[in-house]
Symmetry: C2
Amino acid sequence: MKILTLIFLICVACYTPLLASEERGTGDLGVVVERADGSLQVIESTGNTLLGRIEGLGDLSHASAVFSRDERYAYLFGRDGGLTKVDILQRKIVARTIQSGNSIGGAISQDGTLVAVSNYEPGGVRIFNATTLAPVADIPAVYGDGKQSKVVGLVDAPGDRFIFSLWDAGEIWVAEMKNPHKPVIHKYKNVGVQPYDALITPDGRYYIAGLYGEDGLVLLDLWNPDKGPKRILGDYGKGQQKLPVYKMPHLEGWAIAGKRLFIPAVGRHQVLVVDTDTWSEVDRLDVHGQPVFVMSRPDGRHVWINFAFPNNDTIQIFDTQEMKLVKTLQPGKGVLHMEFEPRGEEVWVSVRDIDRLQVYDTESFKQVAEWPALKPSGIFLTSRAHRIGL
Amino acid sequence: MKILTLIFLICVACYTPLLASEERGTGDLGVVVERADGSLQVIESTGNTLLGRIEGLGDLSHASAVFSRDERYAYLFGRDGGLTKVDILQRKIVARTIQSGNSIGGAISQDGTLVAVSNYEPGGVRIFNATTLAPVADIPAVYGDGKQSKVVGLVDAPGDRFIFSLWDAGEIWVAEMKNPHKPVIHKYKNVGVQPYDALITPDGRYYIAGLYGEDGLVLLDLWNPDKGPKRILGDYGKGQQKLPVYKMPHLEGWAIAGKRLFIPAVGRHQVLVVDTDTWSEVDRLDVHGQPVFVMSRPDGRHVWINFAFPNNDTIQIFDTQEMKLVKTLQPGKGVLHMEFEPRGEEVWVSVRDIDRLQVYDTESFKQVAEWPALKPSGIFLTSRAHRIGL
């Protein structure tokens, strides 16, 4: 008997460290930024549950994430210049570097081998090995007589390219990473005053930057880069608005539904509808407040919209065919972000001021799950790993 | 010493069964059908290697696969009516049922809870619990005076719907699965003679069926189902062709690039280019043989085309902006299928007659990997789990 008991206990002891992590698929996982605590909640969207917390990620205000192509690792871009690689399966940090004094976002290359970070201080873009986070290349955003520019609107594009905008310089740069140690840079100058954010269309063809210093947007057709950037939607921007701007809208949140682009107006209680054939405005939706994110349900039939303070307790859902309001939800104060599950059947919502994560059915609009989280902000599902520009 | 040795051996014994499987991300995995042997190769697309074989899947001629939303499990639809659920991580069969005498494809519901199979014998669609493969519902394809129809072109659509076509009846049915045990069926009759296959657009809006018994295609706009199916491209089909048809093209392989649809002509050495605003033909590409699959690189800039016998040793790549040939590859006899990695940097190719799987870089067109496989046919990457209609 005694020897059997011993064997049993040894077996338990041997098993334990393996059971602490998990063998499971990673296609339904995600991370939620808990900005106040510098931590991440790991979530799964099949049963809509929380799996655990990863701590010690530094200043996560305005943080964003991208994923490794196997959907196991997340790369977190913190405001304090911290770049952290976390293992979502084992729920631990596997590598971390403070790569600058102040950063504003990042991207992962098409082939998944490189992670790029855009910096405010000292400016420029730094490129890291996605496996080890070892530095690979440094792209100082030098312009004019040797000044360094803040860099914003960094995205990946097909052909292992990174695209980004220079706030101070008013330039868009395209970095070809065929030889990762020697990026080839194409510079587009005088694109406009103070590009402050950008998006790339889901097919990776059009890069669109917003301008803070003047009205209008800048569009670069990456299929025809020789034609250079062109200005579109000349009236778009804060110059036209009469209301105070509580929050500049996120450009990454712009929704493409079919051939329509849905853009949050700056300062106005409106969403602009743009035809992507002509890049001209074809309609406007009157909405509940100053829109922050306008997110397309993956099938494009609905857009979900959240709002700046003092209307940030509300989400509105519009039908993109009828161009009319179909539902108004009030999840609670501080709705900061929405993330659709990849086939669109449900959406995750972070409600900061009541410390809640909520999940809604996108057909019935019913809340199907709710969990506590510490001042949740950005929600990022691993399915982004398979998408160009995310 | 003896007791330590015993402990060591027990530890090894305890570990072994766990090491046989793997803790890893599943976003970069896939399966390749080895039709002659009724087996699957499990592949991974980060290092481009083979991970192992799963055997005992029955008759896999014309087999296809869908994936669980966590990207861990594949559901294989065999020609012999076999429905098999395999665990890609552990590389084993977890459930298998012979659900009919002859089946032709399947789909997984938007929320991942239901798997549907379309049958030739006895006809109709059967619905199974995705976890256990227990039967959930049976949809006999009864038409006219009680006859059963063969069912083809089964796809999933947003709103937990399945759409399929009745070969013998000339009908399209939409099954709403809100209550899985009591599907609500909407029937569209007299859509055309012998629908033989179908596709759904990536946003899940348009269902398009090909007709074997007459020329033209049938389009159902799922955003406006009340308008009913309409006929498009009246000249499309085998009626117009002068050449013998070696193989009816796959409709699932049709490529959408931007607002253009690229369709393999039937019998002709041509690919048709269709404007998806008007659903009319705007161009034709002359190609190397009778096209079978016309696949869009995920960014839409290129389409890759393979061909029916006797031209099935060749792949052609066309630029969708210039509408011109950019490359001809000759992988070897029996090019049966192509599958792009989700961000499009590489493509997997099955070359049946030389028993090879090949991987190509989609920018340089260079072959970057090659592996032996037993008469490989369909290639399915787990990233399909996140896509509507795949």
